[in-house]
């Protein structure tokens, strides 16, 4: 009943012709139910596989280090000496900066004192150039 009214009210929208005939909503219900069921099953499968994955991986690589302190959160422990923390900070930034800036090699003459330039170059990883 409601459907008939709504359908009527949408006369403007329904493009005439066979190509876009308004389909019976039974199809819609089947589609919705089948879709939900399959996706539920899929998500359940993902959930189960994620649960199994660590065990499988442990079997495959039993010799991995025991608790590899999550490498994505870099912990910086500043020493009680303030200048040390400051220098580390500068060096980190300097390193990132000089990598980006103009891509040219910084040739740095280093003294013995722990200047930030020195720390920066210690942090340096050679960037893999690409072709």
């Amino acid at each position: 009943m409601i459907q008939t009214i709504l359908t009527g009210s949408l006369a403007l929208f329904a493009v005439p012709g066979p190509a876009r005939a308004v389909e019976v909503t039974d199809h819609g219900v089947s589609l919705a139910i089948t879709g939900i069921l399959i996706v539920f099953a899929g998500l359940a499968a993902i959930s189960i596989f994620i649960g199994l994955m660590p065990k499988v991986l442990k079997l495959l690589e039993p010799r991995e280090e025991p608790l590899p302190a999550k490498p994505r959160k870099r912990t910086v422990t500043p020493s009680d000496h303030l200048d040390e923390a400051t220098l580390t900070a500068i060096a980190f930034v300097l390193h990132a900066e000089s990598e980006r800036a103009s891509g040219r090699n910084l040739k740095v003459t280093l003294g013995l004192n722990p200047s930030p330039w020195a720390l920066s170059s210690q942090m340096r990883i050679l960037p893999g150039r690409l072709k």
């Binding site: 459907q3 308004v22 089948t34 399959i38 539920f40 994955m53 590899p68």
Partner: protein, 371 residues
């Protein structure tokens, strides 16, 4: 041609001459989106380009503008490249490890297909042809790029209004969801603290996107393009040897495509396809479906609490509606209202990702059956 003739032609072809009520409505809607994004702060990165694109695309008498100007952007949108680059950037920017820590939260992603199915049924019941209704249904999960992708397959003429509806809900998550969250959960439930996310090993984090991709391809072959890009972005991120590609995928490429796709989505919503009963219905039915999906997500979380020993904060269920990554943030904020020491953001990412994946899987199925 004399000066009076030129002036005559000038006045005849002015903007005012061709301005009709639908044009004006579209332009006002564009201004509204800009205001929502720019002043109210709802997803400005999306709503500002969409709003401005809507204005640009709906100025009357300018049919020449847009035919050629937008052509390359339109190729990017309709071919599926732009949505894919957005998924690539999301994958490269998002830490999936909360999935590893608590795999059962993935089940909460079922809220997304529920919202989608309800939108489909509502629109179809209202007389919208099934293929169009399926394309529109993605709005019920507030999933913008997937809407664009599915609409380009099933209902290319309606890509504009469908995508606008989806992005609009995504932007309005902070308006819609809090009431539902507060209304359907008790104070004690909102205070439930989740166990700390366990430290994951690199091998797990690298295998996760590959495994996700494999399962999704088997479950819904039509989802392979978008899920593939999401998983590839995350693989690049976790494998740790492709910093340059990760940086460009989650940075410049994501930002540039967000800007250009937004403009194009806005310009695709025109008077002829937007100011129609179907679009108005979609805005209403989609909203209802989104609300019900949120509710069913919360319900599912409560059900899980009945079954499992370890308690789950039912707020997390609301993140299963997709609307990535906004609903996760809302869950976090509502949790903190009750207990500022309750840090739910990382936990809510798991159902949020699951909802995102669930909505893409559903899109893939609809494409397979109706494409």
């Amino acid at each position: 041609m004399t000066v009076p003739q030129l002036l005559g032609e000038y006045l005849n072809r002015s903007i005012c001459q061709g301005m009709t009520l639908p044009h004006l409505l579209m332009i006002l809607l564009g201004i509204l989106l800009i205001t929502l994004g720019g002043i109210k702060g709802y997803k400005p990165l999306l709503l500002l380009p969409i709003g401005f694109g809507m204005i640009l695309g709906n100025l009357p008498g300018l049919q020449p503008v847009g035919a050629s100007e937008f052509s390359l952007l339109e190729q990017g949108m309709r071919s599926g490249l732009f949505p894919a680059l957005i998924f690539l950037g999301m994958g490269a920017a998002t830490d999936f490890s909360s999935l590893l820590s608590n795999p059962k939260l993935v089940l909460l992603g079922c809220a997304a297909p529920i919202g989608i199915a309800m939108t489909l049924l509502g629109m179809n019941l209202a007389g919208v042809p099934l293929a169009d209704a399926a394309a529109m249904s993605m709005a019920g999960a507030a999933n913008g790029p997937t809407s664009v992708y599915l609409a380009s397959k099933l209902s290319p003429d309606l890509i504009g209004p469908i995508a606008v509806a989806a992005y609009l809900y995504m932007a309005l998550v902070p308006v819609i969801q809090p009431w539902i969250l507060r209304g359907l959960t008790t104070r004690e439930e909102r205070r439930i603290q989740m166990p700390a996310i366990r430290e994951s090993r690199k091998s797990e984090r690298v295998c996760l996107p590959l495994m996700l991709f494999g399962v999704c391809v088997l479950v819904s072959p039509g989802s392979v393009w978008l899920i593939g890009m999401l998983c590839f972005g995350n693989l690049l991120r976790e494998i740790g040897v492709t910093e340059r590609l990760v940086t460009v995928a989650r940075g410049t490429l994501l930002d540039a495509v967000t800007l250009l796709l937004g403009l194009m989505v806005g310009a695709s919503a025109t008077t002829t396809n937007f100011v129609t009963p179907a679009t108005l219905l979609l805005l209403g039915i989609g909203l209802i479906a989104f609300v019900l999906a949120t509710a069913s997500g919360i319900g599912m979380a409560k059900l899980m609490n009945r079954v499992c020993d370890q308690k789950t904060n039912p707020l997390l269920g609301a993140a299963g509606v997709s609307a990535f990554p906004d609903s996760a943030r809302i869950v976090h904020e509502i949790g903190q209202e009750e207990d500022p020491s309750n840090f739910l953001l990382d936990h809510a990412t798991a159902p949020n990702l699951a909802g995102l994946i669930g909505s893409v899987l559903t899109a893939g199925l609809f494409w397979m059956w109706l494409g």
